[in-house]
Symmetry: C2
């Protein structure tokens, strides 16, 4: 049905790859609200931040002015090992759906970390190395971020200490081994290595941990250890900046073939992938140069944009990290079990939150059985076995393509395929066996967590 | 150190992809010996073979004359979903080794089956569909071939029945789930579904199965079920033909940048990857147009080329399949546990066996701890987490590069990186924990299995 003048996969030449990241905040009319210091409730200063983060990254975190940051050559060299990532024309999916829509996806899963996380991991490791640090600490849940950081640190010869949520450490030994292959030390959290870990273990001897606790341990370790800093894989402005490489490559590839997307779709947990994918397109939209429908997709079990409130809240469950103004379900909200571990976050990047509040993008939530059905349908025709997180975007892309079939519109849909599901087969098994459940929090449950939001003036 | 005029990854344009497979046998002076019918000990005829295999594949299996087979458009379209695969310049590995050698690898792991197996699976599924069959049967051990075939069958809407060696079925539930995602039915072997399975279960109630038994079940199921045929992922001539796409792409990419390899290296189990990678280069060598050192790498626990004999033997442990003249350790040889499951085969493709016997290629064997050490070293600098099978080639590529460092020679080394190790983390864990063993069969052990070789005249 399609004429196939566009290749199945558009790969840029190395010489066409972006040489600078794009800082969307520079073009935003309403800037995202600043992080607040939890001790003083005043905006975090560079000094406050540099206790925890590398200096160069602090600069990027606070910069609302410069639209472009040159990507250092060392990072561009690393990018060349797994980038440019392909922009794929989903001919087979279009044929299967018999839709007049043209579907493209930017596939970020062709690297060992299995996701887009490596784009920021290598940048954060580079600046740590440049500052002469010995190593970095971080937390990981499902393990994608921890794997990406392990790879990046191994490349630059940095030590990497990963606190892995204990239940994941035990349930996902294979992810742990990938990190060990790259030389990282992986500690199940809570651990006896930190005072916060010891405290939690004393209070809750049988706990299997949480992301909030692992963050607290990683931050404590970094601030208490000479030559170490803490790094984070999502939510932060610096991460959005690095991930803009996804959107920039996508735009260069589309422009090369004179393709104008109508709809851009991405899954949203903390926002790193969606923020990166949409950055240059949203820039055009804000500057009035083009118009796009931009859709964030989140799990109905953790619906921060669609059912949360826009307010200052703690970024972590342990309430030791700065506060961010964002769409949140409350830092005390514990999302129900969902196999898209990367989307189980109570909040949302403050940049994306501001854009959503300004009605520059839409948001929808979907149930996980629908997501896995879409994932399986996609895998069978497009070959790639998608990660549960990425499959949220697939589900909505298929819905939009089917809408085109009804109306006969030949819309161009671009979505972000953030990663592969090789380490998620347990979830697929539950789906195949009909044992997967959907959980949607009640209004009462949401109200309980939201009632505990911190009181912040202004 | 390197000037980096060659890109990190050479991707061909879709228009540059091979349009025909190359049948190396057409150029071989000494042709590989024919398969023998186990009932008559006479060469298998097309009629004999078509009970088990599709007609078009039988034709390919027996054809020693035609050098090229046009790749049908439907297969070329499928190839475009995951091919061309990149030819990667290993700049980071070269730098790490401080070698003057130039190292390239053809990476076949960027698809969901995680290996090159998909290149033949899609061809075999296509011809089955074209013949109007309902489905196909096969066996799988580690699961890569079964996964590839599941993907191919799902694409063409064919039923796919996979007999998976029971111990793998239980130890590798994730591979099993990938196959189920693609709609295949996966049965632990031995099963009660076939008479051979029932017989084995009656005789050995606690058995965890073997590849030989799974082959027998798959063949029985195919021959007893209307509209089904059996397919095999390695060893056969037809498989070598399809896999020639690896070598053809490699050669086109090298020629594009005017690069002449000195050494070509591949791992060898049944020979599908090595045979495919070297095909066009070996053709030039046979025709006297160029010279290359070509090296097959096998595990020292299953050293068919380096310690086997060149003789007619059964292709399967159950002795129901045809006999092939090949380098073999004896069909009764049970290789010791080795994590490179894809290399645990007692024999070798008869094409590669003939080439080796004609001294057109070399062979070496390596111990698995050396292989995993090389795998880890490679992963840390090149990013890709290699499969244990592929890592055999990495090990010898590194050895050759280090030899160049000693001599100062700027040799160009090309090796086949057949796949990724995402489903092999248990093996990596054993390696990290120092619990991996090397096993080398004694001469006495080999003699016992070789004493049972069938007596074949001529």
């Amino acid at each position: 049905m399609a004429d196939k003048k566009i290749p199945y996969k558009i790969y840029l030449e190395e010489s066409e790859m972006p040489r600078a990241w794009y800082n969307l905040r520079a073009d935003m009319k309403n800037k995202p609200a600043p992080l607040l210091n939890p001790a003083t409730m005043k905006p975090m200063t560079a000094e406050d931040l540099s206790v925890v983060f590398c200096e160069e990254l602090v600069k990027q975190e606070l910069d609302e002015t410069n639209a472009y940051y040159e990507i250092p050559e060392e990072i561009r060299d690393f990018y060349k090992m797994y980038r440019p990532s392909p922009l794929v024309r989903a001919y087979c999916l279009e044929e299967k759906l018999q839709t007049p829509a043209k579907i493209y996806y930017k596939f970020e899963g062709n690297n060992t970390s299995g996701s887009h996380k490596l784009n920021s991991a290598i940048a954060q490791a580079y600046y740590a190395k440049k500052q002469g640090l010995v190593g970095v600490t971080t937390e990981t849940g499902a393990g994608q971020w921890g794997t990406a950081l392990s790879m990046a640190c191994s490349y630059f010869g940095l030590d990497c200490k990963v606190y892995m949520v204990k239940c994941s450490y035990e349930q996902k030994p294979h992810r742990r081994e990938v990190m060990r292959t790259y030389g990282a030390s992986v500690t199940p959290s809570p651990s006896m290595e930190t005072s916060v870990g010891r405290k939690i273990l004393a209070e809750h001897p049988g706990t299997t941990g949480s992301l909030g606790c692992a963050i607290s341990e990683a931050v404590e370790k970094a601030t208490n250890t000479e030559g170490y800093r803490y790094v984070l894989g999502s939510v932060l402005n610096q991460v959005m900046l690095h991930q803009s490489v996804i959107g920039l490559e996508t735009k260069i590839a589309l422009d090369k073939y004179d393709i104008k997307p109508d709809i851009i779709i991405g899954c949203a947990g903390g926002g790193s992938n969606l923020g990166g994918l949409i950055a240059p397109f949203m820039g055009e939209k804000i500057r009035g140069e083009a118009d796009y429908r931009i859709i964030a997709v989140e799990p109905s079990s953790c619906p921060s944009l669609t059912r949360g409130v826009y307010a200052y809240d703690y970024c972590d469950t342990g309430m030791v990290c700065p506060l961010a103004k964002m769409y949140t379900l409350g830092s005390g909200f514990i999302p129900a079990a969902n196999h898209a571990g990367g989307l189980r976050y109570h909040g949302m990047s403050s940049t994306l939150s501001q854009l959503y509040d300004d009605k520059l993008m839409e948001a929808v939530s979907v149930a996980q059985t629908e997501v896995f059905a879409a994932a399986e349908q996609f895998a069978r025709v497009e070959g790639i076995l998608p990660a549960p997180e990425s499959s949220h975007a697939i589900k909505i892309a298929i819905d939009e393509a089917m809408r085109c079939k009804e109306t006969g519109e030949e819309k161009t849909i671009v979505f972000g395929l953030t990663g592969t599901g090789y380490f998620d087969m347990y979830a697929y098994e539950k789906f195949h066996d009909g044992k997967m459940e959907n959980y949607v929090p009640t209004d009462e449950e949401l109200a309980v967590a939201l009632a505990k939001l911190p009181k912040v003036e202004g």
